[in-house]
Subunit: 395 residues, 2 copies
């Protein structure tokens, strides 16, 4: 690549697009592309393909010729299945008019951000955090204001005073990801009530990412949700995805839920983003919701086993710093005496072939940490963890 | 719906999202939902489902378990097939690094707009135009500056002086859709050179929508393209889709092409929009490119037949005002003495069951006109046109 030419034409792009960050994982991934003994645990994705009963629904839809334009908000069957799924989770009814099908959880975030943030507005983002929300805000011309969470061996903590102190006259929304990727933090009902009170008092929106709600290792079968403490007309936009629960990362289908009164605005934003989601993918997603509970329970069991293995192995050396994850399927850990997570991830994959994501990819509050996805088969995970533990003894 | 509540919470959304326009066709569509004898010609979509050889590629990919995250820029097979396809069309080679797979032609536009427009910037848009580009610019916080084209019975005309006069210090890009939806206007090589010279002189980007390039009724098998007159490093972003050529409207897959030097920025924008397109859809798109030429030629023949029928019928009464479309697959016509296209479309569908899109959906320059999609089977089209002609004699 001719760098001069590149700088020339790249400099002609919009400032926001030029400043959009590259994935903080890619450098590590690229450094190990050719390795044959690689154990990649860097991406937030399991190792199983989408189950047959879900693929079958898509194939049947294709065979039936469902290849035309469709409803921007999602097909009625899927919106209704989403309402039923949430009713089952929360023990109360939901209107299907609250649900909007999106082309990935990422797109649900993009649309949520666009719908509440104007250029110049601010969004509060507890950190470490999955970086894509902040990037979407900045591309929009808004500002993501990070609020560092505190690492304690007993668990990460969100300091409400610090969150409140970060608010300015331009603050429009708070992003809350619970269970949290990457830290495994789960907001308690008390946390959620505190955040909601704060949001109500100042007229802020909450963008609630509860993608990992089902991967919860406490009591009750799911993590506490804003749906437990809020009213239907509270200013909350839930963003979610089919990716994690039903091994559908490659499908790019998710959903947004919020007050049904904003339906026309959400429909318009979908129209001008991707104009809807393929019907055949929506049929697959509906199958996931209506026939996928057993499969999901298996995935949760698998994550529990993986988590147990991680806890055992990371407890084997006092040099590991970590809080036991209460939810999601990641271990987020540091190594005593090591502060440069990027260097650590590069060294680790070079020396052992185990690929982890550097904590810096999740904001400066993640520096010194590594993220490991434990939604994997036991043998595979055991091998990866074994290599890490052995390596630690030598460095 | 409780309007007070609605106004309340809708008023809390971002200004840009609240102002995003509803589709100008929906009101007409809704007015006729229950009709059994409906002949809907309002949408830009053919009446054939996606052909088997394309669906088969997707189904095989699903069977092979290709359901994981993939390349943000698109799978190498598809990028390479896109380069070959363009090489075939233009008789010269293209680097596969110029091509980026997007989740619809609409998303290609959204990403093109984001990459060159900052909030406050302006984009010149000849009008009448497919409204989604302008909406994407306005949602971005930019301004779409329409440049009215002139209707002449010999064909719509783009007045270069008028285009140039619309430029201000904030102008960042020009949107050119050729062949044009809805007018059927096709830019000549001379037009393209003039626009390119103007863009080069003032450092403007061109967003080139050549979606209907193959539906061209002049000599040469395809419409003139910016690729005929520009260099690879010109500031042109081509946006395109698989929807129209290969009956894939429901798949939401398209592509963007531009200078390969901006690849990392485009990759990042895809990451923060939908993070890529399903591999199984990309396999289908690759099949469309590599095995779909015969199918495409059939579609073009079909459009030619439809166009001929439209010309004959609209020539049957001196009350029809229209220019023979040089490309795309729409008739854009007015009726003498009628200025309110919205009213006309509503009356027409009520009285005859023929559904057309009001020209107002394509900007004020389209008022007084109706858009009819002629990518339909001959019998169906003949019936629809017959009803229109008969109705005209009575009103």
């Amino acid at each position: 690549m001719d760098v001069k030419v590149s700088e020339g034409i790249v400099s002609q792009l919009s400032t926001e697009s030029r400043l959009a960050p590259e994935s903080g994982i890619v450098e590590v991934v690229n450094s190990a592309r050719e390795r044959e003994d690689l154990i990649p645990l860097w991406v937030g994705e399991g190792d199983l393909p989408t189950p047959d009963f879900i693929c079958r629904a898509a194939k049947q839809s294709l065979d039936a010729g469902e290849t035309f334009y469709t409803y921007q908000r999602g097909i009625p069957e899927l919106r209704s299945a989403l309402a039923d799924y949430h009713a089952g989770l929360h023990g109360r009814s939901f209107s299907d008019q609250r649900f909007f099908v999106t082309g990935s959880g990422m797109q649900a975030i993009q649309i949520a951000v666009t719908s509440v943030v104007s250029p110049g507005d601010e969004v509060l983002v507890p950190s470490p955090a999955w970086p894509n929300l902040a990037a979407a805000v900045e591309i929009r011309g808004g500002r993501a204001v990070t609020v560092p969470m505190m690492f304690r061996p007993g668990g990460w903590e969100l300091d409400m005073d610090r969150l409140m102190a970060a608010r300015t006259a331009r603050t429009r929304a708070i992003f809350i990801n619970t269970p949290c990727n990457p830290t495994g933090w789960v907001a308690s009902c008390e946390d959620l009530r505190g955040i909601l009170d704060f949001a109500r008092k100042h007229g802020l929106w909450i963008i609630a990412d509860e993608v990992y709600a089902r991967f919860f290792f406490g009591e009750g079968g799911r993590a506490p949700s804003f749906a437990d403490v809020a009213e239907d007309d509270d200013r909350i936009l839930f963003v979610n995805t089919f990716s994690k629960n039903w091994s559908m990362t490659g499908w790019r289908i998710g959903w947004l839920s919020g007050p049904s009164e904003i339906g026309q605005v959400i429909e318009n934003l979908i129209q001008y983003a991707t104009s809807g989601v393929p019907v055949f993918s929506q049929r697959a997603a509906a199958a996931a919701l209506t026939e996928g509970e057993t499969y999901l329970q298996d995935q949760i069991s698998r994550a529990k086993t993986g988590r147990q293995l991680v806890i055992e192995q990371l407890s084997s050396s006092p040099r590991f710093r970590f809080a036991v994850p209460e939810g999601a399927f990641y271990a987020f850990f540091g190594i005593d005496g090591v502060t440069d997570a990027r260097r650590l991830a590069l060294d680790l994959v070079r020396d052992t072939g185990v690929g982890l994501a550097p904590g810096t990819a999740f904001g400066t509050a993640g520096d010194g940490f590594l993220r490991l996805c434990f939604a994997r088969s036991t043998d595979y995970l055991r091998e990866g963890l074994g290599r890490i533990v052995q390596w630690i003894e030598q460095v």
